[in-house]
Amino acid sequence: MDKLLTHSPILIIVIPLVVAFLTPLIGRAGGKARNVLVVASLAFVEFLVIILARDIYLNGIHIYTLGAASPELTLPGGAMVPIRIILEVDAMSIFMGIIWATVSLTAAIYSISHMASETGQNRFYALLLLMVAGTFGMMFAGDLFNLFVFLEIASISGAALIAFRTRFADAVEGGFKYIVISAVAGLIFLFGVGLLYAQYNSLNIGFLANAMQYSTLDKIALTLFLVALTIKTGMVPLHMWYPDSYTVAPANITAMLVITSHACMYAVFRVCFTLYGITLDPATVGWIVIIIGLLTMFVGVTMAVFQTDVMRFMSYHAISQMGYMWLGVGVGLAVLGNPGALATYGRAAISGGIFHILNHAMYKPLLFMTAGALYHRTSTRDLNKMGGLGHNMKFTLILYIIGTLSIAGIPPLNGFASKFLIYESVYQFNPILAVIAMLVSIITLASFTKAFQSAFTGPQLPEYKDVKEVPKSMLIGMGILAAGIIFTSIFPGLVLERIVYPATDALINQGAYINAIMGGGTP
């Protein structure tokens, strides 16, 4: 058990990777065996993430040095520079890890029925597991180059999954857009990594943070990182690819892609807080992040209002919701250099942003999956062609309502808890920002009500008279997420205390991250 815990950071990445290449082999034996293997491996990964998380909350940052005599040995033989590949998992990384493990598990369970009629399922699951491995790698990587490598693994498998249903022209188009954007963003990121390497001769985030001068070249590198990751996250004004790609992917994949976007967002926060930290001009960069967040929030929701394609409609809402996270974290970043303001509202703002990642990672995949359920039964994504589906799809209806109330921030649900935290803290920073955020929330509720009305209510349409409720595995997948939403709604304080505040403190506390690499480790 102890060994399992010590090696868990690498196992979490390696298990999906190995199983990914096993699935085509096992798949020859039969679909059932393969499905069991995929779900079992993801469940095991979820278990590993949980024991690792528990250890991190108790004992602090977890380091794993690949190829070293012992995993904590970051500076072998008294070296001054960490030369090996190092995975560094702190409370923020594991926070993203918990989200990703849960969502990928539910998406895999959901796929069993949702993809049952497709051909080439062996390859589908292989790609799905590759994406799982790549995104975990992004969250755990302790150096910039591996961040890039895992980003590309996630992008390549993600693009292939978006275009998986190649019989549809739009699916291929969406996949192509995704891979083009990812390739360009990845290369811009790599250029920035090269600039930092040229100056400091290292790629390790902890080492770079320790040596950071914030020279002109560092500023250029920061710009390149921000541009690359903003593209990959899908923030306005670089969001054009986002609805196109997310609409056409199978719903379970869209649910997972939402979290890969969050992983890129995590990389932004990691770069701003941990890599540059206090050396970057926090007010300027903070305001840039805030403005991008506001723009994203507002443009996303206004574009969503007049969509008739249910997946496209939800994609624009996903864009809009990401603005809240950037707003919250941006406010925290803007006051990073001011300990007083950071303590009064900065920490709460960052926590609000991070808490919103968790909530969004539950209700948005749930909503995408309900959209997938509608598509599964009606074979259309057009809201105007649907109607009266509430008569036959009662469970989907209930799950949709839970998701809707949560995304709109209606009081008892978890969306309210995080949005309220953001409003409250942002108001102290600048009241106008909070007002815009509330306005966006109201438009969100309005447009979701409209979608609800056109899909579920009304008289039964003759063509959907024989529509049945979706299969069990899809309901189980959605049910797990809905259970998560309800749990967080009932105990928001517990969730904040146990996993959100540690993540916030891990972001703010740059010293601990550096110290885990640079301090100690020598025998």
């Binding site: 490598v149 590309e152 275009a163 022209a169 188009e173 090269g194 390497y197 056409v248």
Partner: protein, 117 residues
Amino acid sequence: MEYIPLNFPFLAAALLVGVSFYIMIFKRNLIKLIMGIAILASGVNLFLVSLGYRAGGNAPIYTDVPEGPMVLPVPQALTLTSIVINVAVLALMLTMVIHIYRHTGSLDSEKSRKMKG
């Protein structure tokens, strides 16, 4: 004068990146777009590998090593990894272009576009 030959690879890398952005922004043919990305990748790879050059350094191969300092092989390793990743990306993009052409009969990015707004 000694600096000019040392800086030359960086200028070449910048030129390649500039050309690639021109292609990606102004060309509408999807194959040309992919070529633009390939050129961008070459530019970044050239930049990375020229970071590892040290005048008078030896290759870090431990058999029959000549006298003198060895270079750290990290940039070379990065470049190789990046080349491999880009091969995969380019292959995937070309596959998708084949599918797009089958569906729409056109490689023009304006004509083969289905989704707007």
